[in-house]
């Protein structure tokens, strides 16, 4: 067989298609979402959180009962068509109270996490970015605060400020931001000295541009994970305080106070009064923890656990 030139066709030179082996470019968020989507457990957590959030808003509205209305006739009723989760020892509807409690517990958790986020990112970011002596002083202060036993300080603040919704949030965030500040500072410090930031600096990038374009995007994953995980710990701390009698005051109720009120019922058999608040606390903690773990894997595939 004669191999003639006609058998060959020149390949079209096309710069675009030559590079086409790469998969479609995805943004940071799209990639994180793709990885999160593959994590069934984390998705389940996300769905549970959404359901809990929707029910916290809708629950008290769809229920025909008032959360504070007492009735001695209908006290300690087991779950029924009339009272879906039964009634408590004042005849109040547990279903309505559980979702009212959800509003308060979720509000406390989200607010505390949000405040931790703002103070922590600002403090940690400034310390990490400025570095040197400022960082040294700021972090020495944080190290000392870090040594304080968290719940003891919160209890102390609650005793002094009196119980209430606002004081709980203040007390929780008074020491809650420290972990966030340490994390952000460590991350920023590490980022700041990396080659690509140095390169950006050499090319004349302004500090604000570096923060916005390099430092923030590279820290945001860890920050989101941290916020997600600090919501359940705030909810837990609130339940803990309410359990000691330092939390939300009647007739308002959080899951913690409801569980506390329901505690004697393990002996009397009115199980629904403890079961429902305890169940929803656990579900919330579970959902946020699972989602937080999933987010950690999604944002930082290197440290996959």
């Amino acid at each position: 067989m004669i191999v003639s030139d006609e058998l060959f066709t020149p390949m079209r030179k096309d710069n675009l298609s030559a590079e086409a082996i790469v998969r479609p470019q995805l943004t940071y968020w799209q990639e994180a979402w793709l990885r999160l989507r593959g994590n069934k457990l984390a998705l389940a957590g996300l769905v549970i959180i959404i359901i809990l959030g929707v029910m916290a808003i809708a629950g008290p509205i769809i229920s025909p009962h008032d959360y504070a209305k007492q009735s001695m006739i209908t006290k300690n009723q087991p779950p029924s068509a009339e009272n879906w989760f039964g009634t408590d020892d004042f005849g109040r509807d547990v279903f309505t109270r559980v979702w009212h409690g959800a509003r308060i517990s979720l509000f406390v958790g989200l607010m505390a996490a949000l405040i931790d986020f703002f103070i922590g990112v600002l403090y940690g970011g400034i310390a990490g970015y400025l570095g040197g002596r400022v960082d040294n002083i700021m972090m020495r202060f944080v190290d000392i605060l870090y040594g304080l036993p968290y719940l003891l300080v919160v209890i102390l603040l609650m005793v002094v400020m009196g119980s209430g919704l606002v004081t709980i949030i203040v007390a929780l965030s008074a020491t809650g931001w420290i972990g966030m500040a340490r994390t952000v500072r460590g991350q920023v410090l590490q980022m700041k000295n990396s080659e690509y930031v140095l390169a950006a600096k050499t090319m004349g990038a302004k500090p604000f541009y570096i923060v916005r374009k390099h430092l923030l995007p590279n820290t945001i994953g860890i920050i989101i994970v941290y916020v997600t995980l600090s919501v359940p710990s705030a909810i837990f701390a609130e339940a803990f305080l309410s359990f000691l009698g330092l939390g939300i005051q009647a007739p308002m109720a959080s899951w913690g106070t409801m569980a506390n009120d329901g505690l004697p019922t393990i002996l009397s058999g009115h199980w629904w009064r403890l079961f429902f608040p305890a169940f929803f606390i656990s579900m919330t903690m579970l959902a946020f923890n699972v989602l937080g773990d999933g987010l950690r894997d999604a944002f930082d595939p290197k440290t996959r656990r």
Partner: protein, 312 residues
């Protein structure tokens, strides 16, 4: 090394002083007078006597000085709710009970947590691994007071295996210690499992295998040693977790420990008891963390002694 310990010691003292000062001024900023809690005013002469007895008639800064002076002598002052009782006596009564409970709980948590983590890692992605991880997830998401109520309900009331509450024999320790240890077990098990999985793929483990060492030697002598190092760093936080957690557990099980007196102090607005307990527990915790840090630097010679660049 020595300078590391010294630096940690100084920072411990500063932290201690800070919490004492914070506690003192916060307590004195608390609204109201502890003697007026029943709503009825005391006769002036009685009030003056009481104020003199508790040094409340002196300027705040003098009171602070006196408080510090007494603290150096380990005297936490008299109780406000009951003037014949001192905070020292209350701690002497309550702490041994709490200590016993806490010690059992922490030992149980460490042994079970590490065992669970190691087994889960060795049987990675098999049934026992999933069981261990389910336990870990439950331990992290179920609050201790819920767990405690479940334990009472089933193990004590229904099956009558253990007494429901109070204190005395060893059977009384089991349920509260279990409730208290559960979340630390979960944390330790998770951490141990992660580290074990990482260590088991290391090359020196491969070498050990190639040398024909027995699996037991490999696991205990080579893998576990390195895998549990991070658990040591967690110890301080876990002790704090168990100490404060026992406030709630003692309340549920009606155990006459520190938690009981502390909660009673909160309810009676007995400021000197709250202050004394806080100072006592903070001192204990901060000292434990100091010990853990020093221990860690001895166990792991790779640790930097600068203290500054600790991982957050």
């Amino acid at each position: 090394m020595l300078s590391f310990i010294l630096r940690r010691f100084v920072s411990m003292i500063v932290t201690l002083w800070l919490i004492i000062t914070l506690t003192f001024f916060l307590m004195h900023a608390a609204p109201g007078n502890p003697f007026e809690k029943e709503g009825k005013g005391l006769p002036d002469a009685v009030a003056a006597n009481l104020n003199a007895f508790y040094n409340l008639d002196k300027p705040l800064i003098v009171q602070y000085g006196l408080y510090l002076q007494n603290l150096v002598k380990f005297d936490l002052g008299p109780s406000i709710a009951n003037s014949s009782d001192s905070v020292n006596k209350i701690i002497a009564r309550g702490f041994p009970v709490s200590f016993q409970l806490g010690l059992v709980a922490i030992l149980f948590a460490i042994v079970t947590g590490i065992a669970l983590g190691v087994v889960a890692a060795l049987r990675h992605n098999r049934l026992i691994d999933y069981v261990a991880m389910v336990i870990a997830v439950i331990g992290i998401s179920v609050p201790s007071f819920v767990l405690a109520s479940l334990l009472i309900k089933y193990l004590a009331v229904e099956w009558k295996l253990f007494p429901t509450a109070t204190w005395g024999t060893w059977q009384h320790v089991v349920l509260p210690a279990l409730a208290l240890a559960f979340s630390p077990i979960a944390i330790i098990a998770r951490l141990t499992r992660t580290n074990m999985l990482e260590v088991l793929t290391a090359e020196y483990i491969e070498t050990a295998r190639a040398k024909g060492l027995s699996p037991a030697t490999i696991v205990f002598k080579h893998a576990l040693r390195n895998a549990i190092l991070p658990v040591v760093t967690l110890l301080g936080a876990l002790i704090a977790n168990i100490l404060t957690g026992s406030f709630v557990i003692e309340k549920i099980f009606a155990i006459p420990g520190m938690g009981k007196y502390f909660v009673a102090g909160i309810n009676n607005r007995d400021y000197s008891v709250i202050m004394g307990t806080t100072v006592f527990y903070s001192t204990l915790l901060i000292f434990m963390m100091f010990v853990v840090d020093v221990l860690y630097s001895i166990i792991d010679p790779r640790i930097k002694f600068h203290g500054k660049e600790r991982e957050g």
